[in-house]
């Protein structure tokens, strides 16, 4: 174990930080306009094999997502991480072509994991792909697809006799209905209905008997990344809160001089440090075998979720009325943390994943 950053990691950290700080300064109406800068830094390919332009692993992903959380960045970074892994491993010409266009920033893709009324269980999709003479017909519904709109490719898991099929759905396809909404923290999210959408034969990628395991791996990487994002956001939120406690005066003194509030801030710090440790654990777990990896990643998400809820709520409390306004940053961090708590599963969900696996193993 070595907690220090290598020279390359420090460079990555500095350049990501610089870019995201810049974007945070010049807020764009549409965060997608920042996306090309991410591609220029090679972020969508970060943890992929070198052949695809990758130059790191889960540690580097953590570095990027920590900054992403700190600056409440909004360019669509999570989706290419998830889909990138799936496309590069599933293989095939179609998948690799699309991957190249995603990495260069020409195209975007979104993985559609969840379906209505199924909680966070993604491993038994109800969406079906019926084989036809020349291709497939897709029927079903997907919900809560982050950073999706009508212009993105969809990577859509569907039920097959021998496992999970993975289908590439081009933007603006016939038979695909979309409803775009905002997440509670103001990002783009969409629901999709596939009403017999026709797909060509080569839209199916990967091997249905192996796609489930591949998705599980991509999701676990995604969870570790989201944990890092949450830690970045919590770190900054505590800084903002402490700054506020120092400047806000009531009863003739700064509210930071009240011991009750000092203790609360100290408790927040403890929770954040624990969350950071568990995020490191989730990163390290990426190298383990599948069962071990998933259990430890779920344990990390459970703890980081709980920390985020505590830190978010207390930050609002310590700000008083100011915490309740959308105009002040504390509230936006609280909103982001709440959405991330739900990303891939809330605390109860991940706790029961750990329990099903027989508890935490080293």
């Amino acid at each position: 174990m070595n907690f220090g950053l290598s020279e390359e990691q420090q460079m990555l950290s500095d350049s990501v930080d610089r870019m995201m700080a810049g974007h945070a300064q010049a807020a764009a109406a549409d965060p997608i306009s920042h996306w090309q800068d991410y591609c220029d830094l090679g972020l969508p390919a970060l943890s992929l094999p070198e052949a695809h332009g990758g130059y790191g692993g889960a540690e580097e992903v953590m570095i990027a997502f920590t900054a992403y959380g700190r600056y409440l960045a909004e360019a669509p970074l999570l989706q290419p991480l998830l889909s990138g892994r799936v496309l590069s491993e599933a293989g095939g010409e179609r998948a690799h072509d699309l991957l190249a266009r995603i990495i260069s920033g020409q195209d975007r893709v979104a993985l559609c994991l969840w379906e209505p009324n199924s909680g966070w269980h993604w491993d038994a999709p109800q969406t079906k792909a019926d084989p036809m003479a020349q291709g497939w017909r897709l029927r079903g519904q997907k919900t809560a697809v982050l950073d999706a709109d009508a212009s993105v490719w969809l990577l859509c898991p569907a039920r097959m006799a021998d496992g999970i099929g993975l289908f590439l759905v081009p933007p603006h396809s016939d038979g695909v209905k979309i409803k775009t909404m905002r997440t509670p923290d103001g990002r783009r999210v969409a629901n999709f209905a596939f009403d017999g959408a026709y797909l060509p034969a080569d839209a199916a990628i990967g091997d249905p008997t192996k796609n489930g395991a591949l998705l599980a791996r991509a999701i676990d990487e995604g969870i570790a990344a989201v944990c890092a994002e949450m830690v970045g956001a919590m770190d900054r939120l505590l800084e903002i809160t402490v700054e506020y406690m120092e400047t806000r005066k009531q009863f003739g003194v700064s509210i930071g001089s009240f011991q009750a509030l000092q203790h609360r801030a100290a408790d927040m710090l403890i929770e954040i440090e624990q969350a950071k440790s568990m995020t490191f654990h989730a990163v390290a777990a990426q190298r383990k075998d599948a069962a071990n990896r998933s259990c430890n990643v779920a344990a990390a998400k459970a703890l980081v979720n709980r920390a985020a809820r505590f830190v978010g709520q207390q930050a609002i409390q310590l700000h008083g009325g100011m915490g309740m306004t959308e105009e002040y940053p504390a509230g936006r961090y609280f909103q982001r943390l709440t959405v991330l708590e739900m990303m891939f599963g809330n605390t109860d969900h991940h706790l029961s994943q750990v329990e099903k696996a027989g508890g935490v193993t080293g």
Partner: protein, 403 residues
Amino acid sequence: MDLGFSPEEEEFRAEVRSYLQQNIRACIREAVLEEQPLPREWNVEAQQILNRAGYAVPHWPVEWGGRDWSAVKRAILTEEIDSMGVPRPLPFNVALIGPVIAAFGSEEQKRRFLPAIANLDMWFCQGFSEPDAGSDLASLKTSAVREGDGYRVNGQKTWTTYAQHADWIFCLVRTSREERKQQGISMMVMPMNSPGITVRPIRSIDGIHHINEVFLDDVHVPAEHLIGEEGRGWDYAKYLLGQERTSMGNVGFSRRRLARIRARASQTQSRGCRIDEPAFRRRLTWAEIELQALSITQMRVIDEGSAGDTGSAGPDPKTSILKMKGAEMLQRASELLLDTMGPEAMCNGASLEGGDPLTEEGSERSAIVSAYFGSRKYSIFGGSNEIQRNILAKAVLGLGKRT
């Protein structure tokens, strides 16, 4: 001692329930139960129906519409109003400014304001807090300077709930500089359409527009709009905060949320229902048990308070228990409600093509997520949890009193 409800009290509960069921429109109750923001007219409609039955201001003096009911009966009424999803009588009117005018206002003020306040013909908002005077309310700076037949008022109020709906505002203002900051404060009322009053909306983190900044620039306030005596505003404010305690613990409101959680969590999903998850079920059951305890604690505190009227000495410090625990229960319920949701919680109800949330109100956020964010306010307004703990430690336990 008789620790059960009397037959008369049970009968009263049934009577209230059937009146509310028959008279308050179902669409209004459904909106309240789903925690959708209500149009102003629905609040007015509901309060007028309550007022007809004497349910809006039972705690007021009888000559102004009060009912002389026991504290227990009033608590039953509040619980029924809340758990049935009936909009509460506007607290700024019935619990805050109304009792102050009834106790300290001139006869003319009572005649002019009280019936209109009870019937919500006049909607009042509360102009106490200022940017630099929150927990430390007594450091408020808005000034009222004597001028001819009245006052000229300058300053800024903030976090003013429903200023956008209000016809009138009651304000604490500084009429003189004294040695102690609690002195020299006066209470006055102003029509919201007075020249010099500007309202700026504040969008809160639940995506809804409840609160506002209110700017007061050279507002002329005639002397007859001063409430009681000049310089006694702080006493009146303390008196006002000691009034209606039956809604302090928000028991009916939390009960309604918990019932909704049980119902939602019992809905079958393709992969089992939430109520089958032991961790979730335990938390819900604990919340139900604690709420039961709170409902009795609330009755006890109210009962103690009514035995010896605390008058202008201010609120019984034990009401801090109700305020804090009540806030905690609402917040826990809002978390449990959030935790019944799957990934759908990440999607707002309205599609992107919808309008500005400031005008579209709650449609912008799914109501459950919005209620989770919004519920954080319960431990902040009306004396934050920290201030309530200070009161309990000092006033009830006697800690930190240096001799």
